[in-house]
Amino acid sequence: MSKTRVLIVEDEPHIVESLSFILQRADFEVDTALDGTEALRRLSRHIYSVLILDIMLPGISGLDVLRAVRSDRALDRLPVIVLTAKGQAADRSAAEAFGATAFITKPFSNTEIVERVCQLAAGVSK
């Protein structure tokens, strides 16, 4: 049985590195994308169980990625964890409207994010 695959879309290399590290430790297979274009490319090539999506991305924004995901029949049930920050309520409510599954606020707790990814991945595999 292959590992559960998770895609991290985040433009900050250090955050990508930390997220990759903790999720790999939790036995996920992790792919990363530093911008929206790369994220969409990866989504079209592989099947992911969970998508972790930063909202503030250069170029194609996180919201654009989310909208693309939800409008794709193959991806419309993919759980999406959106990384937000306090003080960005407008972005959060927009993400909710576009069909974000969960929200995690930066700076996040490693434990919380791993638990959340496990939950959603389990839900999908059922």
């Binding site: 433009d11 250090h14 955050i15 930390s18 250069p58 003080g87 960005q88 700076p107 996040f108």
Partner: protein, 894 residues
């Protein structure tokens, strides 16, 4: 007949009673000024001196000759009093408030306290009143003769009685004495003669009762059947077409004007008035009195015409009817009534005229030629008293002279009308004075003088019928045979009888000149000011000269005048205010107060003249005058002010709206900025927290991994520090926060210092820094440290972003065109896309490539610094591949 001695005895007794009334009246008035003597009844009765012997004897005579025409003499006054609200109320209020002493004082005060005007009106009144006084003397003399002659002798006389001038002389002398003792005992402070008014009121009652007694006697004793009464009615009485012709209108106007303008009427109506209540009551009670006294005129006239032989003098019917028909007691009463009406008129007229003569002729002359005694005590007051007494004697004997000259002519009524026509000449000035701001003293003088001359030429001089100044030939044909100058048909106007003719010309020319001459010149400031006080009397009664005219005078000199004119008692009350230290220089208030008190005694013009002798400087405050200027001007000014205020408010509102927009914009920017800052802070915080948690939970990590993670934590911490520094820098650059030390310096030194600082970084990155062209002796204004910071930022950016194989940075400086210094920092790196060249200067801008540890604040801060010194920072494309930043700063040449 009555014995002459008996009649004299009755007269003297009657006069004695009047004296007693006058003294009692004065005493009561001192004790209780608001008592019976100030009652509307007494006031109205005193006004009835309008009914002189002309009324008492002349009305019957006029009715017998001209029918109902006599009524016009009472119709005019009735209209004036019934319509008191229109004119009389204002006239009386102004007179009361300004302590007017006579009609001359009133008009002179109104027109800038003009002494010429006061003197002119006084002379006019003196000349015009003379026939009137003569009239009273004539009536008195005739009545005395009738009552003392045997009844048959009077009746037998087919033509009017030859006057006995001995009787007339003694009557005139008696009247002088009477008037002097009554009216001029002191120069009364407030010019109200309570005693005289009380006596006049008694006389008014006596004449009314006497006349009605004669009427009732005629009705119930003489003419028992109405048939007898109407057997021989006068033809004129029965022909109504006479009514409402030009003469009727003219007579109504004349009498209406006379009841205001006659000196004695002005005296009792205006000067003696003490409240509006009085005039309110008089408005109906005086017409009622006129009605009562005229009730029996027609019956008496008809009885006279039927009972007495043809040719009998109808002016004496009131006396001759009872005396020849066995009613001797009624006759004596009628004599007393006539005596009352004549004496009361002469007394009040002579008092009024003596006040005018002393205040407007004697005082000004005496002041000019320094004839007023300067000694202490009462000498100046005595001088004025003597002047007034002399004036009374003069006035009465002038009347006597007229009587003597004109002994051959004129019925009572026609003499009275001549007098009326002259005395009403001040009317246009009076009306203009109360309603027209623009009227000037020159206009008033011109109008009055012209009216006076026309009256004298067309009516007064011809009344002597050639016996005085004007020959009978001139009267008939005009001077030098020039018929267009005919006194009774000026410019060929012969449609009217002489009275209407004179009235028409004098009033027309008078009014026209008043208007035209007034319009020729602006009123003087004082006239304008007085106009406001008079015309706007109901608007501001408390206004005084205070504040408008600023004067200074020495208290000692002012007091000297007050002592002399007002007497020591009042002077003390004016000047000694308890234990207050007496001032040397008099205040405005004190000067005005003294002048007001003086004006109540000697008239406004003389008071002003007196005070101005000791006033050392006099200025009229323009501001105050402006304040008092017409209401319309004020409203205009006010609305203009409102307009400019509303414009100001609009402008302010626009500014506020603009400021509000700016604030809102700044607020939005601030929110955005905060949001960005929070994001920028969260990013390193997220890494730091996450890696710390990893390190804490994963003790089994190998050393190199641990070090790597710790390195990340460290670098993100540095990033946080830089971010904070940048934010603080930004804050520092916000307008109005702080000023740097600003000097004039060579910008090349800042470049040198920046390159020196960046050298280690460049070496580490393998980038070469080339120092290109440099300017000589360029000078800019600013902070050298801050400019160095800008260059460090630009050079380090060029180093960090340079991905070229053979990286280099070139820095040049030059004094460029248009007075600007230009420094360029050029690299051979990847360059900056055109669309980002402006965006890179916005805060927290992220380039397409992930940043090399920058926080996105360096370029915005650099640009702000350069702009702060009047220059600019921009990104252009380099000639070769790479980015080029240009710093421009204004050169200083001093």
């Amino acid at each position: 007949m009555h014995q002459a001695n008996f009649v004299v005895f009755v007269c003297i007794t009657y006069v004695a009673i009047l004296f007693a009334v006058a003294f009692a009246g004065d005493r009561r008035a001192r004790k209780n000024p608001a008592g019976l003597l100030s009652s509307p009844l007494v006031y109205t009765l005193s006004i009835s001196i309008y009914c002189s012997s002309w009324t008492f004897f002349g009305s019957v005579g006029s009715a017998a000759k001209n029918g109902l025409e006599f009524l016009t003499i009472y119709l005019g006054p009735t209209i004036v009093f019934a319509g008191w609200w229109l004119f009389l109320r204002k006239l009386v209020t102004v007179g009361r408030v300004h302590h007017t002493t006579s009609i001359a004082d009133f008009i002179s005060a109104r027109f800038g306290k003009s002494p010429v005007l006061g003197a002119l009106i006084t002379i006019l009144a003196l000349v015009a009143i003379t026939p009137y006084i003569a009239l009273q003397l004539k009536a008195l003399t005739a009545s005395f003769q009738v009552i003392t002659y045997p009844a048959g002798a009077v009746v037998a006389a087919s033509r009017p009685l030859e006057p006995d001038f001995a009787v007339a002389f003694w009557l005139a002398a008696g009247l002088c004495l009477f008037s002097i003792v009554f009216g001029v005992r002191n120069i009364d402070v407030n010019e109200r003669h309570h005693g005289v008014i009380a006596a006049i009121a008694v006389e008014a009652l006596v004449k009314l009762v006497a006349f009605m007694a004669v009427g009732l006697w005629v009705f119930f004793v003489l003419s028992r059947t109405p048939d007898l009464m109407f057997r021989n009615a006068p033809a004129s009485l029965m022909s109504p077409e006479e009514g409402f012709a030009a003469r009727w209108v003219a007579l109504c106007f004349l009498s209406g004007a006379a009841v205001i303008c006659l000196p004695r009427q002005f005296q009792v109506t205006v000067v003696e008035n003490s409240s509006e209540e009085q005039i309110r009551t008089a408005s109906w009670m005086f017409p009622l009195y006129l009605l009562l006294i005229n009730l029996f005129v027609i019956p008496i006239a008809m009885a006279g015409l039927n009972n007495l032989p043809p040719g009998s003098d109808p002016d004496l019917f009131v006396l001759t009817l009872p005396m020849t028909n066995g009613g001797e007691t009624v006759g004596l009463l009628a004599f007393l009534g006539g005596f009352s009406s004549a004496t009361s008129m002469v007394i009040v007229s002579s008092i009024a005229l003596s006040t005018m003569i002393s205040n407007h002729i004697v005082m000004p002359l005496a002041l000019r030629f320094s004839l007023v005694p300067t000694g202490g005590g009462q000498s100046a007051r005595n001088f004025i008293l003597v002047a007034r007494r002399m004036s009374i004697v003069f006035t009465i004997f002038l009347g006597f002279t007229y009587f003597w000259i004109s002994r051959t002519s004129g019925a009572l009524a026609s003499i009275g009308l001549i007098s009326f026509c002259g005395l009403i000449q001040p009317l246009p000035s009076l009306i203009a004075g109360l309603y027209w701001h623009r009227a000037t003293h020159r206009g008033a003088i011109a109008g009055l003088a012209a009216g006076f001359l026309i009256w004298a030429y067309t009516l007064f001089l011809p009344s002597f019928k050639g016996a005085f100044l004007m020959s009978a030939d001139v009267i008939a044909n005009g001077p030098f045979g020039l018929n267009w100058l005919n006194p009774h048909a000026l410019f060929g106007l012969d449609a009217f009888d002489p009275l209407v003719h004179a009235l028409f010309w004098s009033m027309t020319v008078n009014t026209a000149l008043l208007v035209i001459v007034s319009l020729l010149r602006e009123p003087t400031p004082l006239t304008r000011f007085q106009a406001t006080l008079f015309i706007d009397i109901f608007r501001r009664q408390t206004e005084s000269e205070l504040g408008v005219i600023r004067r200074t005078a020495r208290v000692s000199e002012l007091r000297q005048i007050a002592d002399r004119i007002l007497g020591p008692v009042e002077s003390v009350s004016l000047f000694d205010k308890g234990d207050v230290e007496p001032a040397v220089i008099a205040s405005d208030e004190l000067i005005t107060l003294v002048e007001t008190r003086l004006a109540a005694n000697v008239g406004a013009a003389s008071a002003r003249s007196l005070v101005s002798r000791v006033v050392t400087s006099e200025t009229i405050s323009v501001d105050e005058l402006k304040r008092l200027a017409g209401e319309a001007e004020q409203i205009r000014a006010y609305s203009a002010e409102l307009e400019s205020k509303s414009r100001q408010i609009e402008a302010t509102a626009a500014e506020l709206a603009e400021a509000n927009d700016r604030l809102r914009e700044i607020d939005v920017q601030k929110d955005e900025f905060l949001s960005q800052v929070s994001h920028e802070v969260r990013t390193p915080m997220t890494s730091i927290r996450s890696f710390s948690e990893i390190l804490l939970k994963n003790r089994d990590l190998d050393e190199s991994r641990k070090l790597h993670f710790l390195g990340i934590i460290q670098s993100e911490s540095f990033r946080l520090t830089r971010l904070l520094d940048g934010i603080l820098d930004l804050n520092f650059l916000e307008p109005g926060t702080q000023t740097w030390e600003v000097t004039v310096f060579d910008p090349e030194t800042a470049i040198d210092q920046a390159i020196e600082t960046c050298e280690p970084l460049a070496r580490a990155a393998g980038v070469r820094i080339k120092r290109g062209r440099r300017s000589r002796n360029a000078r800019v204004l600013g902070s050298r440290d801050r400019l160095t910071q800008v260059f460090i930022n630009l050079v380090s950016n060029a180093i960090k972003h340079n991905t070229s194989a053979n990286p280099e940075v070139v820095v040049t400086g030059a004094a460029g065109r248009k007075g600007f210094y230009e420094a360029r920092v050029t690299d051979n790196g990847p360059g900056i896309p055109l669309k980002d060249r402006e965006l890179i200067f916005t805060k927290f801008f992220r380039g397409q490539k992930a940043r090399q540890g920058g926080v996105g604040l360096g370029l915005p801060i650099s640009r702000q610094i350069v702009e702060r010194f009047g220059g600019d920072l921009s990104c252009t494309s380099a000639k070769t591949k790479g980015a080029e930043f240009v710093v421009r700063l204004p050169l200083r040449f001093d």
